[in-house]
Amino acid sequence: MNIKKEKIGNFTVLKIKGRIDTIHSSALELEVNQQFDSGEKNLIFNCSGMDYISSSGLRIFLVAQKKAKAINGKLFLCDMQPAIQEIFRISGFSNLFRIFDTQEEALENQ
């Protein structure tokens, strides 16, 4: 798994590539925590390269959303592969996040 960061307008975009599983989820958690700790309030997760997620990965997104809500921040997801969308749907996570088809659409909500 690797994460590319880019500051665009009021958002930091985290582009995730690879697997978010039991072994790799802690690296994502660390990155998210660093973003909030450094004062970032608005995050977009670009999930185009994310090809696997398990419950340990879902957990990181939920914790991030709780933190974002607590500071009135924005946390958006975009560009998810269909198999990943399905995992979000069956776990009820589709209702916990605003999920956009493209990064451009997410960025329109500054």
Binding site: R19, D21, T22, I23, D51, Y52, I53, S54, S55, S56, L58, R59, L62, V63, Q65, K66, K69, P82, A83, E86, I87, I90, S91, G92, N95, L96, F97
Partner: protein, 140 residues
């Protein structure tokens, strides 16, 4: 006549083993010409069940074997996971409330639920000192 395929994996109770196992399952899915989405779901179900076993099944620090059998008969996929840990029936786990808002949603408790949503049938049995979890899904 039917068409039956089987593949056995044995891993130790170390979480690092999951990476190599995931690669082997991806290779198997290619060999069996399964879709990428199904390969992901097989990996997901096995990761959830096996990580639970590794984290919670063993009170000692000894090495334990976890056995995984994947079989495909016509369009019926079966995954059987066997361990010699403490008695644990995943079918008795409390179901998460998946309609709560993020602020109220508890963190965790999703692994077994995901298995139950992805697979059609879950069966648990305790035989001698072994937990045997059998999962089935029709992939037609």
């Amino acid at each position: 006549m039917g068409n039956s395929k089987n593949k056995h994996f044995v891993i130790d109770n170390r979480i690092e083993e999951l990476s190599a196992l995931a690669e082997k399952i991806d290779d198997l899915a290619k060999k069996w010409e399964l879709s990428q989405a199904l390969a992901m779901n097989i990996n997901l179900v096995i990761e959830e069940a096996v990580s639970n076993i590794i984290f919670y099944a063993f009170a000692d620090t000894d090495k334990h074997e976890i056995r995984i059998l994947i079989s495909l008969e016509n369009s019926s996929l079966t995954i059987k996971i066997t361990d010699d840990g403490i008695l644990f029936n995943p079918l008795e786990q409390k179901q998460p409330e998946i309609n709560l808002p993020a602020e109220e949603r508890p963190v965790g408790g999703l692994g077994i639920f995901l298995i139950s949503q992805i697979m059609d049938k879950m069966h648990y049995s305790r035989q001698k000192n072994q937990n045997i979890l059998t999962l089935n899904k029709s992939i037609s």
